[in-house]
């Protein structure tokens, strides 16, 4: 039996960035399915299966950019981590910023990890691999726990 693929939600407004991350994830040894949202508001609509997103699949992990027009990453965290139905989904902040204030703020808003995107593609590939290893293979995610109902 093949395990079901890991569901990943990418939240990033930049198509080129999304593309690069998709490229890196496409080489993953773990089967995954990638969806994307262009900003915090769209991501929330997706997670809450709002109109237009009725078929949305609950992601196993969210990769979140911070700098987005409209609802940015911090506001998204604030909103999502205080929503009982969504707060258990792990969020890995993946951003260019290495400002201490951004890092501190992200963890204060209950981000599960903070990663600075390196400029070099090979280094970025290594980081995506590390994210996969840890979040897709090492840790147990809330969705893995069998329902006791």
């Amino acid at each position: 039996m093949t395990p079901k693929p890991v569901e990943i939600l990418l939240v990033d407004d930049d198509p080129a960035d999304l593309r690069l991350t998709r490229e890196m994830l496409s080489q993953s040894k773990v089967r995954n399915r990638i969806r994307s949202a262009a900003d915090g508001a769209e991501a929330l609509a997706y997670l809450r299966r709002a109109e237009g997103f009725e078929d949305a699949v609950r992601p196993d992990v969210i990769l979140l950019d911070l700098n987005m027009p409209g609802m940015g990453g911090h506001e998204f965290l604030q909103e999502m981590k205080t929503d009982r139905r969504l707060s258990s989904i792990p969020v890995v902040v993946v951003t260019t910023s290495d400002e201490e204030a951004d890092i501190a703020e992200s963890y204060a808003l209950h981000a599960n990890a903070y990663v600075t995107k390196p400029i070099d593609l090979d280094q970025f590939a290594r980081i995506v691999r590390a994210i996969e290893d840890f979040w897709f293979q090492v840790v147990k995610l809330p969705g893995d726990i069998p329902d006791e109902g």
Partner: protein, 381 residues
């Protein structure tokens, strides 16, 4: 004596006197002053004299003193005398108060000296207010420029790097994924694109470090420099081994400083000593001694040395004395080092070393000096 009308004027730095549109008059004397637009003094000649002599001036022949049109109003109101009292600040007369009265007045010596004194007192109040306003303006300006700096730092750390990542990422994707479609020349050009973009990113990162070295709050604590040097040498152990360097560490004092900043400072100086080494295995010594204004720490090497004519230039942002091929780097390290030392209240400079290399020296305040300067409340406990 009670004045029926009072009018305040400001003396500009160029000596011109203008109305401050400050009026006061008793109810019994309806005076149109506040409603009329008067740009000049009410008593131009008297106010001019008071400004020049820095002494009160007065007259009992009011009619000739008032501007046209105002004389009639004064006559109707029965006003006959006028006086101009200078308000004296450190920069000379800063303001003049003008008074009109319905009795012929004569100011005797006591009265003149009383007014003179009142003018001085008022002047110092005006002075203080003016200085406070200037201080407020300066601190507003500082706050604004700090905010701009923070904004700049954020732009540098995120917005400027985002496009660079794209240039590098997609160029590298091209060379990795589409190598077949590229000839050698095309691949070489793409390498230059990646190299240039990475270099630009290094420059941005370093500018950011430089700006942070100047703006981050210092977290001062008593630090054993020996411990910091141990950490730095452990961190640089690969470079030390590669260079087969010998490093002597003398007695080092306890200083008051910010751990991460001083570690970065020492790391930079030792890494430079390793990087700019001569042909043989480098010999580096780190020592400290008590100086007049605190502790003086020296990091001495026997490397390639620095032309004394360049001794100041090496501390400038992005200043480099060698090609990137010979010695990689952006040339920001020593500029950051100097900022760190200066933030701690010390100095950093370079001198020729004994064996042809360089000695970088910096001063740091003693723990006592730093404690009394930064935590005055400690002494009251």
């Amino acid at each position: 004596m009670d004045w029926q009308v009072a009018h305040g004027c400001v003396v500009d730095p160029d000596g011109g006197i203008r109305s401050a549109s400050l009026w006061d008059h008793s109810d019994a004397y309806p005076w149109p002053g506040g409603d009329l637009d008067l740009a000049t003094p009410l008593l131009p000649a008297l106010s001019q004299r008071a400004t020049t002599t820095q002494e009160p001036a007065w007259t009992t022949e009011l009619t000739g003193e008032l501007p046209e049109g105002w004389a009639l109003a004064a006559k109707r109101a029965g006003l006959v005398s006028g006086a101009a009292i200078p308000i004296i600040t450190d920069d000379g007369v800063g303001a003049v108060l003008e008074f009109l009265d319905d009795h012929p007045i004569h100011l005797d010596d006591d009265f003149v000296s009383l007014f003179h004194e009142v003018g001085r007192q008022l002047g110092s109040v005006v002075e203080r207010e003016r200085h406070l306003a200037e201080l407020d303006a300066i601190s507003d300006e500082l706050r604004r420029s700090n905010l701009e700096l923070e904004r700049f730092a954020y732009i540098a750390s995120h917005d400027l790097q985002e496009p660079l990542r794209k240039i590098v990422g997609f160029s590298q994707l091209l060379t990795r994924r589409h190598a077949d479609a590229l000839d050698d020349e095309a691949a070489e050009y793409l390498d230059y694109v990646v190299d240039g973009a990475k270099r630009l990113q290094d420059l941005i990162q370093d500018l950011l470090h430089y700006s942070r070295a100047g703006r981050d709050d210092l977290d001062l604590e008593p630090l054993e420099l020996t411990d910091l040097v141990d950490d730095v040498l452990a961190d640089l152990s690969m470079a030390v081994d590669d260079a087969a360097a010998t490093i002597d560490v003398g007695d080092l004092p306890q200083v008051a400083g910010d751990r991460s900043k001083l570690t970065a400072l020492l790391n930079n100086l030792v890494a430079n000593a390793l990087k700019f080494r001569g042909d043989g295995p480098p010999h580096i010594s780190i020592s400290g001694h008590r100086a007049e204004d605190g502790w003086e720490i020296a990091v001495e090497d026997d490397g390639i040395g620095i032309d004394p004519a360049q001794h100041e230039r090496v501390f400038e942002v992005f200043s480099r004395l060698h090609t990137r091929e010979a010695y990689p780097g952006t040339g920001i390290g020593l500029a950051v080092c100097r900022r760190i030392v200066e933030r701690h209240g010390g100095r950093l400079w370079v001198e020729p070393g004994h064996d042809g290399g360089s000695v970088f020296r910096f001063t740091l305040p003693t723990v006592d000096a730093a404690t009394s300067a930064h935590e005055p409340e400690e002494t009251t406990r």
